[in-house]
C-alpha cells in the first residue's frame, strides 16, 4: 500500500511458521488458536521493526529500504539456521488428513479453511482501509506524503502501523499454512518473489488486484508446471513478473502511472 518493498517478508513468514511450530510442539497450542497469540505479537514486532530499524536506517529512500530489508532477511534467515539448523520440520494435526468433498474434487480441510480465511481477511482489510480513520490515514500517506504530514498525520506512525498490519497478516498466513506445510530456515525465500509478483500483477495498493493476482498466479503456476515439467515450470511466475513490470507496471487494477 505504501510502496514499501519489503524483502524480509519471506523471513517474517518463516519466523511465524517457527513460532507456530514451537507453540504446537512445546505448548500444545493448535495452529488456528495460535493466530490469537501470533497476530498481535507480529503486529507489535513489525511496528517496532519499521519504526526503530527500517525507517532510521533507510532514511526514507526506497532503494535503501530494499537494502535494509535484504540485510534484515539475511540476519533473520541465518539466525534461524544457526538456532534451529536446516532440518525440515512439520507438525502433525489430525484434521490435516480430513478431506471435504466439494463436488468436483476432495480438498484437505486445512486448505479449505485457508481459502475462507483469506477471503475473510481480504474483506476485513478492505473495511479497515475504507471505513476507519487509520485506513484513511494510510491511504492519505500513500497518495501524498507531504500533504498528509501538513494536515497532522504522523507519517512515521502510519508507516509503522502499515508494516505491523502486514506482519500480522503474514503471521495469520503462517498459522493457516502450518497444518499442511513444512518449516525450514529457507522456506520464506520461495514466497518473496511470488508475493511481489502477486502485488505487482494486481496493482500496488489494490485489494481486489492482490486477490485476482494471487488467483492468476496460482493458475499460471499449476499450468506452467503441467506443460513445461517440474523443473522448467517454475519459470512461469518470473516471466510474468518481468512482463508486468516492463509493460504494465501499474498492474491489472492499479491506478497511478
Amino acid at each position: 500500500m505504501l510502496h514499501i518493498i519489503n524483502f524480509a517478508h519471506g523471513s517474517i513468514l518463516m519466523l511465524a511458521l517457527y513460532a507456530g511450530f514451537f507453540l504446537f510442539t512445546l505448548g500444545g497450542v493448535d495452529p488456528y488458536l495460535a493466530v490469537l497469540i501470533l497476530a498481535p505479537a507480529f503486529f507489535a514486532g513489525g511496528y517496532l521493526l519499521q519504526r526503530y530499524v527500517i525507517a532510521p536506517v533507510s532514511f526514507g529512500k526506497d532503494t535503501n529500504v530494499l537494502l535494509v530489508t535484504l540485510g534484515l532477511s539475511i540476519i533473520i534467515d541465518n539466525l534461524a539456521l544457526y538456532l534451529w539448523t536446516s532440518n525440515t520440520r512439520t507438525i502433525d494435526v489430525g484434521y490435516a488428513q480430513v478431506f471435504v468433498d466439494v463436488g468436483v474434487t476432495a480438498v484437505a480441510l486445512p486448505k479449505l479453511i485457508a481459502l475462507g480465511a483469506a477471503v475473510l481477511i481480504g474483506i476485513l482489510f478492505w473495511l479497515l482501509m475504507t471505513r476507519t480513520d487509520a485506513g484513511k490515514a494510510i491511504r492519505a500517506v500513500s497518495k501524498e506524503r507531504q500533504g498528509a504530514r501538513i494536515v497532522g498525520i504522523n507519517v512515521e506512525h502510519i508507516f509503522a502501523l502499515s508494516f505491523g498490519l502486514g506482519s500480522a497478516v503474514v503471521a495469520i498466513a503462517a498459522c493457516l499454512l502450518l497444518p499442511t506445510f513444512y518449516v525450514t530456515p529457507q522456506v520464506g525465500n520461495a514466497f518473496v518473489l511470488i508475493a511481489f509478483t502477486t502485488v505487482v500483477l494486481g496493482g500496488m495498493g489494490s485489494f481486489i488486484g492482490a486477490l485476482v493476482g494471487g488467483m492468476v498466479l496460482g493458475i499460471v503456476e499449476a499450468y506452467s508446471g503441467l506443460l513445461l515439467g517440474e523443473s522448467l515450470g517454475q519459470i512461469g511466475i518470473f516471466v510474468i513478473f518481468i512482463l508486468v513490470l516492463l509493460f504494465r507496471p501499474t498492474g491489472l487494477f492499479g491506478q497511478r502511472a
Partner: protein, 309 residues
C-alpha cells in the same frame, strides 16, 4: 593517492612470497575475486545508482558460457573466456535495453534484475545442455593454454591481474565524461535528462560494461573451482555477494569494493574463529555489518577514510 595505490599494488604483488600456507593464499584469492565481482556491481550501482539485485545473471553467464564452450564444444579456454565475457556484456545490454527502455527505476529495476537471474537459474537447472541439476564440471588440465595453474599462486596472480585491469578501467571511467554523466544520472536523472544527457544510452553502456566485468569474474570462478551449477551461478547468494562488498567498502568509489571485500573476508574468518564454523554465522555477521554501515556510514568504509584525511 598514487602513492597509496602503489603501496597496495606492491603489497598484493609480494604477498605470495610471505604467505606460506595454502589457506591464506586461498583467502586472498577469493577476496580478490569478490573485489572484482563487487567492482562490476559498483560501476552500475555505485556510480550509476542503478541498484541491481540480480548480478548473478552476469556472473553465471560468464561461468556457464565458458564451461559449456569448453566441455560441450571443445573450444580452448582462452577463446571460451573471451566469448563468455562478450556473452556477459550481451546479457547486460539485453536486460538494460528492456528495463531502461520501459523506464524501470529504483526498487523496480532491482526486482526485475532479480527476476531475470531467477529465469536464468531455472533455465540452467532444466536444460541438459547446461548440465541441468548436476551442473557443469570442467576437467582439470593444468597449463597456461588451459588457463589453469598447477601452482595455486598462478590463480592468485591471474585474479590480481584481472582486478588491477578492472580497477584501472573504473578509475578511467570515474574521470571520464561518461563517468560524469553516470554520476549526474545517479544524483538526479530528470535533471540530467534536462541538461541533454541521453540517460538511456549512458545507463545501457554502464550495464553492458558491468555485465562484461561480472562475466570476467565468472570466467575466473570456473577456471578456479572447475564447477558451476545453477545455484552457485545464478542463485541469489551470488547477487548478494556482488552488492555487499561495494556497499560496505563504499559505493561509487574505485577502491570501495576492494576494501569491502577485505573487510567481509576478514569478518568471515573472525566469526568462524570466535563462534566456530556453524552454518549461517558468517552471513549473519554480514547482515549486521550491512545495517550498521547503511545507518552510520552511508559512504561505506571509504567515507570513514576520507573523513579523516
Amino acid at each position: 593517492m598514487k602513492k597509496i595505490l602503489l603501496v597496495i599494488i606492491v603489497f598484493f604483488l609480494v604477498l605470495p612470497l610471505f604467505v606460506e600456507s595454502r589457506f591464506w593464499l586461498g583467502f586472498w584469492t577469493t577476496t580478490l575475486f569478490f573485489a572484482l565481482l563487487g567492482q562490476s556491481w559498483n560501476i552500475l550501482g555505485g556510480y550509476g545508482g542503478q541498484v541491481s539485485f540480480g548480478h548473478a545473471v552476469f556472473f553465471g553467464t560468464g561461468a556457464y558460457v565458458s564451461a559449456v564452450l569448453q566441455v560441450r564444444l571443445g573450444l580452448d579456454a582462452w577463446t571460451s573466456a573471451a566469448i563468455a565475457v562478450a556473452a556477459g556484456a550481451l546479457v547486460g545490454a539485453f536486460i538494460g535495453a528492456l528495463s531502461f527502455r520501459y523506464g524501470l527505476r529504483g526498487s523496480y529495476f532491482a526486482l526485475v534484475t532479480l527476476a531475470f537471474a531467477e529465469v536464468f537459474r531455472v533455465l540452467a537447472n532444466a536444460w541438459d545442455f547446461t548440465g541441468s541439476g548436476f551442473g557443469m564440471l570442467v576437467p582439470m588440465k593444468p597449463g597456461a593454454a588451459n588457463l589453469q595453474f598447477a601452482d595455486r599462486s598462478g590463480f592468485y596472480y591471474a585474479i590480481l591481474l584481472l582486478v588491477v585491469l578492472a580497477y584501472a578501467l573504473t578509475w578511467r571511467v570515474e574521470r571520464s565524461r561518461f563517468g560524469a554523466y553516470l554520476l549526474a544520472i545517479r544524483e538526479n536523472e530528470d535533471a540530467a535528462r534536462a541538461l541533454g544527457i541521453n540517460a538511456f544510452r549512458i545507463k545501457l553502456a554502464a550495464i553492458t560494461l558491468s555485465g562484461a566485468m561480472a562475466a570476467m569474474a565468472g570466467v575466473f570462478y570456473i577456471q578456479y573451482y572447475l564447477f558451476v551449477d545453477s545455484h552457485v551461478g545464478y542463485g541469489p547468494a551470488m547477487s548478494v555477494n556482488a552488492l555487499l562488498a561495494p556497499l560496505i567498502g563504499g559505493a561509487g568509489t574505485v577502491l570501495g569494493p576492494l576494501i569491502g571485500a577485505v573487510a567481509l573476508g576478514s569478518l568471515a574468518e573472525l566469526t568462524s574463529l570466535l563462534l566456530g564454523k556453524e552454518p549461517g554465522v558468517n552471513l549473519l555477521a554480514f547482515g549486521v555489518l550491512l545495517l550498521v554501515i547503511l545507518r552510520f556510514l552511508p559512504n561505506g568504509l571509504m567515507g570513514l577514510l576520507r573523513g579523516r584525511s
